[in-house]
Subunit: 313 residues, 2 copies
Amino acid sequence: MSSGPPAIHEIMEARKTISGRIHRTPVFTSSGINRVIGAELFFKCENLQKTGSFKIRGASNAVFSHGKVPGFATHSSGNHAAALTLAASWRGASAHIVMPESSPGFKKKAVRGYGAEIYFCHPTLRAREEKLKEVVNRTGAVFIHPYDDPLVIAGQGTAALEFLEDVEGIDSIIVPVGGGGLLSGTALTVKAMNPHIQVIAAEPAGADDAFRSFNSGDLIPSENPDTIADGLLTSLSELTFGIIREKVSDIVTVSEDSIKAGMRMIWERMKLVVEPSAAVPLGALIEKRDSIPGKRIGVILSGGNVDLEHLPF
Amino acid sequence: MSSGPPAIHEIMEARKTISGRIHRTPVFTSSGINRVIGAELFFKCENLQKTGSFKIRGASNAVFSHGKVPGFATHSSGNHAAALTLAASWRGASAHIVMPESSPGFKKKAVRGYGAEIYFCHPTLRAREEKLKEVVNRTGAVFIHPYDDPLVIAGQGTAALEFLEDVEGIDSIIVPVGGGGLLSGTALTVKAMNPHIQVIAAEPAGADDAFRSFNSGDLIPSENPDTIADGLLTSLSELTFGIIREKVSDIVTVSEDSIKAGMRMIWERMKLVVEPSAAVPLGALIEKRDSIPGKRIGVILSGGNVDLEHLPF
């Protein structure tokens, strides 16, 4: 695979690579939520995916696309770390995870639960990169970036492939954006399969680097992001930004109150545990329904890993 | 239909009556929970059912089995009230719900949300029955009991019909018991379809009237029950007790701590919102795995209606 955006045949290849290992997640609807929003919404439940998020798609595609290696490594305090650890274990390989000491306890516990070797570092970009380099040099592990990697993006795109097969006549698909892996994969898939469907991104207003980058045309890094949506704190990469500029119709920002309202609506009405990041698209629909085109709207519920002891309600 | 236990053909008839109106709920598994329990568990997700519980099965079967009537009535502060109200609305009939003033706010809100006419009474059996009689006399509404009704029991039995079709080779099915509607319907269905499968009931130790009735052979009413499982406070009726004595293999009791542990396990590992009552069977499996026979065990997750502002974690 090249280092540029994955082609649609590479996304289809990814699907063959990972199918049988991951869940084909269900699509649920809620007549109650449809009434509130005034549209027909279809929720692709990646919170019910293995490791509780879509990240296992990209991680397992990357892991199974490499030859025999001593292990895999990444820096992440969250869902990509858990996903890479599980995918590595399927190959009998070790996983080396660099995470900030300041990561919440329930995330450390989850990653450790999958059997990762964890390396703590100071919560700065520089400390994280230095520690990762040291770990990779010492162990020979292959670094799998959470999103700046065509194999990872191709894997994330497989959720949209399933979505388009399972729901007919979708007008638009809305997904959350952090580093842009899910958004890039979704946009590449959707635009290749049916260019009439619009791909929209929803981003917390408190971490709106993708929104500002998209509108200015320059990649603006995330600085001091402040949002409950802890999976969306990262910046776009050149690779994901390039795909997003070309394929995504719009990026909308969402207030913290609307993210919480969306999260609560999904918990109460759909009986699904979703993490705040996964509720950002519904938050956007609650807030600015008119900015999001379509009578039939697909929403990817990106994950369900949340600290039950610190809920926002 | 007679006033005795419904026959299997009546349960199959119920399924025809309600299909298309209710969800065929999915069955989920969790490799993480299987590892903890040391068995293969299959969870029938009635928390994802319309109105958030299995109660819509019995309520809609009863409602659609009656001729044209001015309305329907019941006394319930919980899931049966919401279910009866929705089922009545499908027929364009009104729903009259008698509930104690002391019912939690989120339940009042839910029942009102479905469009019920609510009548508050003092929280005693006598006040409830008097108020119900008055409402029925004045409105001509038909009283649908939450469980002491063959049509309701037949409706609840349809969950097990689907379960047996969707999962092969189950050794036992475990369900929570309160008034015994779900348990009776499940037991009648399972024993008619495959008598080798054992039906087990799980009951909170703090509301163990069914356990004591089952073991003594006499119907012992529920007195001052005290449990977080607020759907399981009611007593068996002569009808449900008779079915349970004949068809159920065992009733096991579960501590409050195990109910909470089961609930948390389902939320964390399966990303499903379930109410405490729905977690009682998994609580039983956590606590006394050895009392529950089988390598492949079916669990009915009975509902997901919970007050998000008062969670036990």
